[in-house]
Point group: C2
Chain length 278, copies 2
């Protein structure tokens, strides 16, 4: 399948912590080279020189086997570990090295050069917020837990499979925001008034909508051949949900072509909610 | 509370996409300056020059009000937008600019300079994997859904509040891994044999343990003054759970001082599971 002149390169993400930051950034950069094929390996928790030497040996072996040097993205706060890694046969792009000096100059202060600080539990309150928000999302999924809607920062509403659950979980995990979600079932859609639980929480409602054809595809993967996945039912539900959003002036977002991250970021931007966790 | 000579600086995260990549990297770098206080603002979806000009005006206003230039971390793939942003009165650190040229040279090819590619739904299969994994985590939380344990990549076990649920959700959302979790309640802990559902899935079990004092703190926040949160019960449960892991040779991890990201990354590393989604 791979044509001979297609770019194909091994990429290593090396970190003194979880590797999540460097993976995220590295993948963002690699996604700019759409015709290339990258084989990625993440090596987390590189916190001492013995482990750094192992990583160098592994990268060098790959370079020998592939007859081409790999690309290495790294986040190593310790300059000794960075020097060890720099000896490998690869293009090494260290993110700390690229920016930390400039930041130190700007702030007129040295950095701590502490390992793996970002994903460590450095801020207890912020961390508890995240855990609490994840629990909240799970306990308030799909119309559950309406008695504690008072504690919700936002309540997502929409038809089945419009993206409510993953968005709730993402808002909780990434931003510490307490999100409930409530499904717009037939009995809600066919009524001109909202259920009382939604009326009481009107200012915190946010609607998700979706292209009926995209909805049909998603539903068909789960329950092929059912009326739930039929084109007419998908069209009707979406039309009624959108009419409901308009009638009650509930802000809404089309999730058809959006990723979970994009939906969550748009919800934050539109509602003005502030993130509670980092 | 803030001493007069403490560093205090406004920081902007500017992105043509969700801003999640640049926030993650920026926060990782800022966490290296532990005595500084940063006031952060994220500005996502900067995709045209009018919006870029607004951002410049906003940053310049902050610089004027604070009598100190802000720090700006940005991920703008379009060079025109980068040039606009570069005119603001701030230290601008653009992540694309820092690395993309070097990568183009290394790969002997130009990048697409497409906006917001990373968090867009570019790979449908990988995206469906994530959504499916999140659904799986929610449907297999806290001992639910044991009849479909066959589809699980991993099953986390541990006492109540040892970190199972957030780890499951994170493994699903970040890595697309299908994770179930099963609570070690009294009736399981007091038995020398494992429940049959765990025996059948023995190779996929992974234990989470926790320091009894940390467990007591967490439980006390939820149900203060109960026997559930008592020091003796926490000690007994943890001791019995650890004995169970040892007796059945189930790998286990101490979550006491670890963040969700750290726990999830360690689980991946220890089990050798490969991530399925990016």
């Amino acid at each position: 399948m791979t044509s001979d002149n297609q770019i194909r390169r091994h990429v290593f993400f090396v970190s003194d912590s979880t590797g999540i930051t460097v993976e995220t950034l590295g993948n963002a950069l690699l996604s700019q080279f759409e015709h290339a094929k990258f084989l990625t390996t993440t090596i987390p928790f590189v916190t001492n020189s013995a482990r750094a030497e192992e990583v160098v040996a592994c990268i060098d072996a790959t370079a020998r086997d592939e007859h081409e040097r790999p690309v290495v993205f790294s986040t190593l706060a310790d300059s000794g570990l960075r020097e060890t890694l720099a000896r490998c046969n690869a293009l090494v792009l260290d993110i700390f090295q690229a920016f930390i000096g400039t930041l130190e100059q700007e702030l007129h202060v040295g950095s701590t050069h502490a390992l793996g600080r970002f994903h460590a539990v450095t801020d207890k309150a912020s961390y508890e917020d995240r855990i609490g928000a994840v629990d909240f999302a799970l306990n308030h999924d799909d119309g559950a837990g309406t008695r504690t809607y008072d504690d919700a920062d936002i309540i997502l509403i929409g038809v089945s499979r419009s993206g409510k659950t993953p968005t709730c979980v993402y808002l909780a995990m990434q931003f510490g925001i307490r999100t409930a979600n409530y499904p717009l079932m037939d009995e809600v859609l066919s009524c001109t008034t909202l259920p009382s639980i939604l009326i009481e929480n009107r200012p915190r409602l946010f609607g998700l909508t979706i292209n009926p054809e995209r909805l049909r595809t998603i539903r068909s993967e789960r329950r092929p051949g059912t009326s739930y996945a039929s084109p007419s039912r998908c069209r009707t539900e979406v039309r009624e949900a959108e009419a409901l959003f308009e009638r009650h002036r509930i802000p809404c977002l089309d999730t058809s072509a959006a990723s979970i991250e994009e939906i969550a970021s748009h919800v934050l931007l539109r509602t003005g909610l502030r993130r509670k966790a980092y």
